[in-house]
Symmetry: C2
């Protein structure tokens, strides 16, 4: 398989000396279908798929994608909500040796167009629900202001992926039977510090080692069922599917998160493991109303940003074994997780790094500093972003930009996510990206964006704007609407504050940490 875009660091020539040439393994789904064909691979609604059935359906999906012109090495964008078909498409891309580019369904058409272009996608596979959005994205050049529309074919997901294909063998296609761990599995976009998202490259090895590290921490039970109510287009959801193929447990997939359904799945469908973000946990406990969780629930991983300790304690009180985790797209999900036996003793800590991961804090012992990570789970870099890839490293260590400290026993406490990162309901929002959109509005001279604490979402973005002419409540509302039309809704500011000037440091650089000092009684909330 080839990696497009010679400008980016190749996953075959990664950073540092710790990972060089590649280990080859049998292709994971095929292996699972051989080793444990009748084990439950996937539960969705009332239906169950065994690894044998999943393998068969993936074979048909891969053959259809091949008929649609998808070649080994192609980058293929995926736009869809959680579904069996989405998992079939992921499996088919793996089996074809094509590279998955999962897109956030909450992106604006322009953002989608931009990511398709940036990732050199050869096609866009899209589910029924998002056909209109995809259509707009592919036409977005006609609006004039947007990026050039990508010239890629649109492939309807339901037309290539059928969970119950005919019993006969799939038509022939170049089926990959082995996987080199250094080969590229996918490109996942993360909000960018410079105003544009960056495509984090993840190799099969990144997923493999993450799955192994997670398993060494949590153990593996024969009847494990992992609840995936987080999106499959995020590394949090994607990594559950990867772990399932490696460990052979069942994924219980929810189309979207619903606290009552999540709680019911735990009670009635044997869920032993689950991945959530803080806001999901909060809503599940609220819906629960004090009823205890069953003892078969082994661990609930809470990731995607800081979790209030009171919330963790409330969960533990209900018998839910919550484990705070620390990770990001670039570490293929968890880099550190509180071990189950420390859930109570080390409340508030994100635990210790997974077995293959090394983690250090760039500060004297016990003091706060930048968190650095290295190991085989770390992304080889950003697609076509040699500068940003290089800037994210110090020798072979990945610089997370997050702040934290290690206690005397080596437990990690995350103090602050990447200096200016806003985490809203588990989604990352980089202020620079929102500022860029605000400043594209004709009435805006300059803009600064910061996070504001929010009971429901953890944080929400708010904007500070220096207007070109006199400010008004109407303009504030218009700017919010403008942002919502240009980008995913969760990125748009919920408040716009007009200010005469933005705080800047001596070098003239925006001092975002001082933005909130500008807040006055008049909050310009739309």
């Amino acid at each position: 398989m080839t990696v497009r875009g010679a400008a980016g660091p190749s996953p075959r020539a990664p950073y540092g000396g710790s990972r060089a040439a590649s280990q080859t393994l049998p292709e994971w789904l095929g292996r699972r279908a051989y080793l444990t064909p009748e084990a439950v691979a996937l539960i969705f609604g009332d239906e169950r798929w065994s690894f044998r059935e999943l393998d068969h359906a993936v074979d048909h999906t891969a053959a259809r994608l091949w008929q649609e012109g998808i070649q080994p090495g192609d980058h293929v964008a995926l736009l869809g909500q959680n579904s069996v078909e989405y998992i079939l498409a992921l499996g088919a891309l793996m089996r074809l040796g094509a590279v998955a580019v999962p897109l956030n369904t909450r992106l604006s058409p322009e953002e989608i167009a931009w990511q398709i272009n940036d990732s050199d996608a050869a096609a866009l596979v899209v589910d029924d629900e998002h056909l209109a959005l995809a259509g707009k994205a592919l036409e977005s050049s006609t609006s004039g202001a947007g990026p050039i529309a990508p010239k890629v074919p649109l492939i309807p997901l339901e037309a290539v992926a059928s969970p119950r294909p005919p019993g006969e063998a799939a038509p022939s296609y170049p089926r990959r039977s082995r996987i080199e761990l250094d080969s590229l599995h996918g490109i996942i976009y993360t909000s960018g510090t410079t105003g544009r998202p960056k495509g984090a490259m993840l190799t099969y090895g990144n997923h493999w080692w993450n799955a192994i590290g997670s398993g060494l921490n949590l153990g593996g039970h024969r009847d494990d069922v992992w609840l995936a109510a987080v999106p499959l287009f995020h590394v949090s959801g994607l990594s559950i599917v990867m772990r399932s193929l490696i460990h052979g447990f069942a994924v219980l997939l929810h189309q979207r998160f619903d606290p009552a359904l999540a709680n019911r799945a735990i009670d009635q469908q044997g869920v032993t493991l689950a991945s959530v973000v803080s806001v999901m946990l909060s809503r599940m406990l609220q819906e629960r109303g004090g009823r205890k969780y069953p003892p078969h629930l082994r661990a609930v991983l809470v990731g995607g940003g800081p979790v209030p300790e009171a919330l963790l304690r409330r969960a533990l009180d209900l018998g839910m074994p919550v484990l705070q985790t620390y990770g990001m797209t670039e570490t293929a999900s968890q880099a550190a997780t509180l071990p189950p036996h420390d859930a109570l003793r080390k409340l508030g800590s994100a635990g210790k790094p997974l077995f293959p991961v090394e983690l250090k804090v760039d500060a004297p012992p016990g003091e706060v500093g930048e968190i650095l990570v290295r190991g085989p789970g770390v992304s080889p870099g950003y697609y076509r972003r040699p500068e940003e890839s290089k800037a994210s490293r110090r020798e072979e260590w990945f610089r997370t930009g997050d702040l934290g400290w290690l206690d005397a026993e080596g437990y990690l406490y995350v103090v602050d996510r990447r200096s200016d990162l806003i985490i809203s309901g588990g989604e990352n929002v980089y202020p620079a990206e929102v500022e860029r959109v605000l400043e594209s509005h004709p009435a805006v001279l300059e803009a600064g964006v910061a996070g504001k604490a929010d009971e429901q979402w953890g944080q929400v973005p708010i904007a500070f704007v220096v207007p070109k002419s006199s400010p008004s409540h109407e303009l504030a509302a218009e700017l919010i609407a403008y942002c919502r039309s240009k980008m995913a809704r969760y990125k748009a500011p919920v408040e716009v504050h007009f200010v005469p000037a933005l705080p800047r440091n001596a070098a003239g650089k925006l001092a975002r940490h001082r933005l909130r000092e500008l807040l006055t009684g008049d909050d310009g909330r739309a």
Copy 2:
């Protein structure tokens, strides 16, 4: 670290394309002591060691070995029975970056001297029990007929390894904090087809991938305790220790196998996993007298040669979840293991390959052929044996020499171990090695050795000898005694049959499979 003996294939330049440069991981025991310091690592008699305590004692042992002159890269022979000290020495060699050469304690002094020479060992670490044997080995040149005595220092194990060292930090030594998976962990001698044992090189990666594959098959429970009553100088015992460092379970170590103690450990010490060979299983069931095994016993792996189906059935009847395995030194123990859910349905099968292992049979589907194995668990070759290393490969596949077939679902049935291999009580005996010794006796013209079924040991070696002069019962007894003086007792023939000529094929090569046809009423048993 360096690998001595440029004549042999380097573990850094292995066979085939599937394994090239190296992945680096944190040193395993240090990592365990960091991740789960208080978890039980080792149980021996009434005593328990946590990973923290083991780590500390290993540090002191490594410092002492360093003081004794052991350098990173040195090959260090280990001669001892199962003990805490033995495990400390293994850990200390890992931490120093030295290479372990575990010696079978049942070898003759000459065999020990030969393996020390062949492995380029820089020292011999030996326990109290085997000081006399080691002394004889190091003096064996003076007997005239033996090999040149190795000029290596003898280091008493108990003088360097103390399970309860002082509380303070160990003196400084070049402590290795990370491990390259392609670096050499040890050299383990296996009986040779050509009359001399061969040193199978095993890398850290071989052990890592074996441990991961084993875990993906058996799962991992927080309270796992693995009974190790097999010798640590065999890959079967050694690999339990390796898996413990990686998975973090407790090893319950027995000095030597005792069926009553093994049964009691299962009943009273929470053993969930165990490794045995056929003769051990048989003796445990005999001692058991029909009493059921407790449900916490998750799996008993039965390896080291064929297991009678009646024995497996008897074990299952008593509630013991026996799982037949197939593996060898060159595959770092298990290559295939029956999955737990198939224990009953596929009785007699050695199951399917571990997740990272590929296995095929060199024959049409369903027919018997040679078993070939490839994957990251396979040894890179034999130390200083380029020819034999090469002969053991076909492209990147390792030729086991064993015969077997795969059923329609892909389950392996082993029909016959390497054509002429005799497996006696789990120990491998190669006829060529015994024949070489017999033919060194002045009264022997030529000799052929074959296996004979034995109720207790599975098989025992018997010899067919063409004498130079007239045969006698006295000569038979003398030849048996002669063999016992020259080699491990289990290798010496239990019967000597005098024959006028040995069966040979057209090319004059000994036809061992026809030896047993020579048996007459007069059996020459000594």
